[in-house]
Amino acid sequence: MDLTGKSLFIANRGEIAVRVNRAAKALGMTVIQGHSEADADMLAVQLADSAIELGPPAANKSYLDIPRVVAAAREAGADAVHPGYGFLAENAGFAAAVETAGMIFVGPTAGTISRMGDKVAAREAAIDAKVPTSPGSDGRIEGVEEGLKVAANIGYPLMIKAAAGGGGRGIRVAETDDDLRKLIPQAQSEAAAAFGDGGLYIERMVRNARHVEVQILGDGSRAVHLFERECSLQRRRQKVWEEAPAACLSDASRARICEASVRMAEAVNYRGAGTLEFLYEPARDEFYFMEMNTRIQVEHPVTEMITGVDLVQEMIRIAFGEPLRLAQDDVTMDGHAIEVRVNAEDPSNNFMPFPGIVGAMTVPENTRFDTMLYEGYVIPPFYDSLLGKLIVHGADRDAAMDAMQTALDDFRIEGLKTTLPLFRALVRDADIRAGEATTSYLETWLESHEIDAA
């Protein structure tokens, strides 16, 4: 399909706006960049063919203002709207409003977004597609008595989760019946306040969990997987370091989880790029479906590095109606890739945010750096702290770790405090080198390690 001359409105900012811009340009498209007052000088605006101001710095008055974003895209004559990640990327109302306004939404249908956005409905879809889920309540629990019955079946420890939560929000751990009696009412009222929906469900707590997720591309009828990523290194349930493939999986386990993911994507007629997130319990060699993310993810580059597929270009092609270009056999895996998230945070001072002015930058050779930084750029304080993603590729995991260590040692960004010193320490950690880190590893590690500010 020839997309030359078609126009794409980017309803996002930061590094992902730059990433989407490059994909669109590679397809010959014209790019219109939406931005807040605080983002007029961001890199994605400079790279775009034209730019439109959406509103004041606060995201709820600019990037999250659905009528304003849709009106700006229409006014600019956009053929399609790319939501990036975060902001409105998984907002069914936005997807519907874009389509109602006569434009293409680069992502799944509004119906898929709202179905997968409800954690209980997503879990039910997983069960229907025979995708393994952790033992738990089948659907919402009504109160303490039902919770106690479920707990008697699955055992402690268990997690109480908010049906409308996500990204680690609204989760509580119960070790005993007494905990459960106390936590269910608390969780109910908190979920009602935070998400406008007090619905809860219960799941078994997975021991020594690894975060494994499968990348999917679908065209609404057929889907393929692009293997998996491992993102076990997390702080406050935010990923900081991602790899592809997951070193903890055997070939047989990999085939099992990837095939299950394709099954689910096809069962829900998935369209676009999506990710199924699982917890993997090594001792049982079992996967438990957690959620499906209906957008391009921050860590998509590690998948691109091992498969050679440009996921953002593919999702744009699919959105314009092109059938999936890949058969499953076309997707092959080469070597190992690692990504670290360079955030404007000071790891030697409790990860205090550090919006500042970017000084001289030396980006290491033989790496990919997806970023919105340029020398002299003043980082606005109003948005998240992600500055860019440093990605390396090696023939195997050891080679990729070596490449990451070299790259981190060569990387210089003056003028800012960043998380680079954290990664210089992590890349030298024996357990991480050995591929042994679980989802709780980094939090524990941080309690016993001081990080040099250098």
Partner: protein
Amino acid sequence: MAKQIQSPLPGTFYRKPAPEEPNFVEDGASITVGDTIGLVEVMKTFHEVKAEVAGNNARFQIENEAPVMAGAVLLEMD
């Protein structure tokens, strides 16, 4: 000269702990050292702004949810 409380960080200033809750401090109130007078949200994290000096008749210079630069005067008092 009026005493001032400045924002220690750039970001978004909030006068209340949550949208449906009352202000930390009302205009005209007296302030003692250590009182929280507001929050600054910087890169999605919230930091309390505490008074380092005491004073009377607080007069806010910045509206709730307005963007602020580091050093911006949030409040004046006598």
